[in-house]
Symmetry: C2
Subunit: 112 residues, 2 copies
DNA sequence: TCGACCTGCAACTGAGAGGTTGCACATGGT
DNA sequence: ACCATGTGCAACCTCTCAGTTGCAGGTCGA
């Protein structure tokens, strides 16, 4: 306990948010969520950046645990792994609820 | 349709995720959620970066709409604005659900 | 076998993020 | 009035991120 904050878990959550904190990656995530599975070339079609840029973004997403890849013949298909999304949501929930409790305490302090 | 996605709303969501995608800022958000309201100096106490670094991070958080400040005598108190957190959660929900639908479609495609 | 297509690696660049230090300015307590 | 404390610039540095281009290596179909 005590020094529970700022642990490896928090770093993983920060990685997830970092991965989602880029417009290009965010649109990649949206496309993957909508299409199910796509190759880097398929994802770069319609994007305004090169295929290599998409590949780098996919690596970031995969390092964060948001995406997995699978070789399918001569192409590589990328798909979402929504589990980490749940971790991020859990973090947001915990901050929101502790914020609510803090509000209560503040209210009582002010009312003295 | 077509250009409906990747709009100003998506940019705002990316800004929120970007703001949360840094370990220092994430711990700031946690501290603010736990304490309710803190000054930059109060936040930098215990952190391993300088007060000025915290101030810059607070500016990023405020630009993303996650934090607001209020002058209180000679110090400036920062507090969470949990509304954007809800927006981020909503985004995660929508990606998750569209992902679930995509999984269904993929399953049916594979079963041909 | 040959050509088309997709991937993988490497080198390079520009811009911005994250951080620091130093100092000036305001404000509260004594 | 004085001093301590907290804030607000501004300049500066370093390192990483996002993106590009070029080319080599697999893999499928004809």
């Amino acid at each position: 306990m005590s020094r529970g904050t700022s642990s490896a878990r928090d770093r993983a959550v920060a990685d997830v948010f970092f991965a989602l904190g880029d417009g290009t990656r965010l649109s990649v995530v949206e496309k993957l969520g909508a299409a199910g599975a796509l190759s880097a070339t398929g994802l770069s079609g319609g994007a305004r950046v090169s295929r290599q840029a998409i590949v780098k973004h996919l690596r970031v997403l995969e390092d964060a645990g948001l995406v997995s890849h699978e070789r399918r013949g001569r192409e590589v298909l990328y798909a979402l792994v929504p589990q980490r999304l749940d971790d991020a949501r859990t973090f947001l929930d915990s901050v929101s609820s502790s914020w609510d409790r803090a509000l209560e305490r503040l209210r009582r302090l002010v009312e003295e």
